[in-house]
């Protein structure tokens, strides 16, 4: 229908035409509602898919060991008890490996951040020979799962005699997270307008001073997000940790090692204990993750 005939027919519409138009409109609205409804249904399903195990683990972690072993499982932690968690925390090696995990994660965070800042800045700001090749290299490293990367890396580490030490595992984790961190930090630096740096230079800064006084403060939130990501990755990483440590196990390695020798209460409590730090960190950095992925937040 051309615009012109529409204009002419509008005041002259017969009741039949009006009815047809109404029906058409109703169908359109129904279709729209259906699409919306199915998207919401899908979202709810996905949320349940993720939240149900988390809820189950949490419930079990706060139930008595007897209740944990019982079947069917409770849906709420009644009676509420920290007995299961207490048992887990007092198990031989758990406290020690928690401390190891903490040290490894913090060290990895520091190493990876300190290296990623200059690397990310260079990629964001300078046109140097091989820049695209380096970017592509970093990106392609990310394409491999950690398991694939960890084996050859572990071989190198063992050959160099760097194993079963907290700092060697930290370096391993830093190496594994570095590609991600560099790319995130580079994108953070790219988002700081070049004009800020130039203005700083006009008003008396050298390039270095402009970086310290203007660029870095503006990039800190994003860099912190990348650092926390490293922390979480290191905290959760188990494969390299098992390969590289024997006596100085990190928490996930320790749990995995003792998993088949322990009962359900230990497993649930361990799962809960591993889960919580990641959830807390993700909660704090989700804003930066959204920014990173280009989502527009209100």
């Amino acid at each position: 229908m051309t615009g012109r005939t529409y204009e002419q027919s509008k005041p002259l519409m017969t009741p039949a035409q009006t009815a047809a138009l109404d029906a058409q409109r109703r169908r359109a609205r129904l279709g729209h509602n259906l699409r919306r409804g199915s998207i919401y249904a899908l979202a709810v399903l996905l949320a349940i898919w993720i939240l149900l195990p988390i809820w189950l683990i949490t419930t079990m972690a706060f139930s008595t060991p007897t209740d944990v072993r019982a079947f069917p499982k409770h849906f709420f932690p009644i009676p509420f008890s920290t007995q299961t968690l207490d048992f887990f925390l007092n198990t031989q090696g758990i406290l020690n490996s928690t401390l190891n995990s903490l040290v490894v994660a913090l060290l990895a965070l520091v190493i990876s951040t300190v290296l990623a800042i200059p690397a990310g800045y260079a990629i964001a700001r300078y046109l140097f020979p091989g820049r695209d090749a380096i970017r592509l290299g970093i990106l392609s490293v990310r394409a491999f799962p950690i398991v694939v990367l960890a084996v050859p890396l572990a071989v190198v580490f063992i050959r160099l005699g760097m194993f079963d030490k907290v700092h060697s595992l930290a370096m391993m984790h830093a190496a594994l997270t570095l590609p991600t961190t560099i790319l995130v930090v580079a994108s953070v630096f790219t988002s700081v307008p070049r004009e800020f740096e130039e203005a700083a230079q006009i008003f008396g800064c050298t390039r270095m001073q402009a970086f310290w006084r203007v660029v870095l403060p503006l990039a800190v939130p994003g860099i912190a997000a990348a650092a926390i990501l490293t922390f979480v990755l290191s905290w959760n990483e188990v494969f390299a940790a098992i390969l590289l440590t024997i006596s100085n196990r990190t928490l996930p390695a320790q749990i995995l090692y003792t998993l088949d020798k322990s009962g359900d209460p230990f497993k649930f409590a361990g799962g809960f204990f591993m889960l919580v730090p990641s959830l807390i960190f993700i909660f704090f950095i989700r804003r930066y993750l959204f920014n990173m992925w280009g989502q527009i937040t209100k």
Partner: protein, 370 residues
Amino acid sequence: MAEIVIENAVKRFGKFVAIDDVSLTIHDQEFVVLLGPSGCGKTTLLRAVAGLGMVDSGRVLIGGKDVTYLPPKERQISMVFQNYAIFPHMTVFDNIAFGLKMRKLPKETIRERVEHAAKLLHIETMLERFPGAMSGGQRQRVAVARAIAYDAKVLLMDEPLSNLDALLRLEMRAELKALLARLGATTVYVTHDQIEALSMGDRIAVMRNGKILQVDSPTRVYDLPTNQFVGSFIGNPPMNFLRGQVRRENGTVKVKIGTLLIAPPEEMQAALGSYEGRHVYIGIRAENMETLDRPADDTLPVKVEVVEPLGSQNLLTTYVEDNMIKISTHPDFPAEVGGQVWLRFPISKIRWIDPETGEAITPDMETILA
């Protein structure tokens, strides 16, 4: 003294020549506007003066000192950026004080200078605020205050008003002009807005394709453009260009437009004589033609095609042969679409243009001096 001298500056980006052998001298305390369409090299030239992009060859001197390859901080310059570039993580006070702190001035001096600059820009009540909580116009004021407080001998401005809405731009233009006149810094101001250039500059350097086409006072750039591009880029409406045929009658050179014969002034005779039998363009501003509502001597009858009442003037569109011309008339002038008016071309207001090069035909110097 802060005279800026640019000598044979060349800047390339790959194969693209952004500045093509440009030389320009900006006198101490002068306000020069670099004007041109986007991509003409005006910002590149400004950045070469600022030290944010070094030239590939040529020299830049500020106050007699060769600064061609010095970093910005050693050039004694100050700058206002197009997007203001106010640091979002600092308060307005810290933004304005930034350069002064870098110079390690005493705290008291910094406070005085910041407050003085803030007062000049009427933002003295906002010193504790962060830029994020300010409007575009206010941020613009902070950027100018920061540049002023730094108290450099040279002030560079890169399209400082282009991000403001029309009304605010108008207001800020006058305020900025008055302020800069008081400061007496040598100012280089980049803009693509010809009205801004005409209204603010002591001199205007019109640029195109990396070259400076003309450097002159606003009136001269407006009335006496040295080529067709300058005439059509500056002024609203742009300068009219009519084709005229050059012929010789009774020993004097005449130019014929339609049915009208124009006798060029004495000093143009020799120069235009060399175009005999060919065409030239007659460049004339819309408001420089005399419009009559009845036939008279030395007038050209034209048919009015469009009448645009613009309040202070009526803009008529007509055609002479194939050339569209715009005529500005008094709002009371009786003109109707389809009606006829008669145009007179005052000889002193005509710019003669070579149709091939687009350059203005200049009078023979010897005839003038004789």
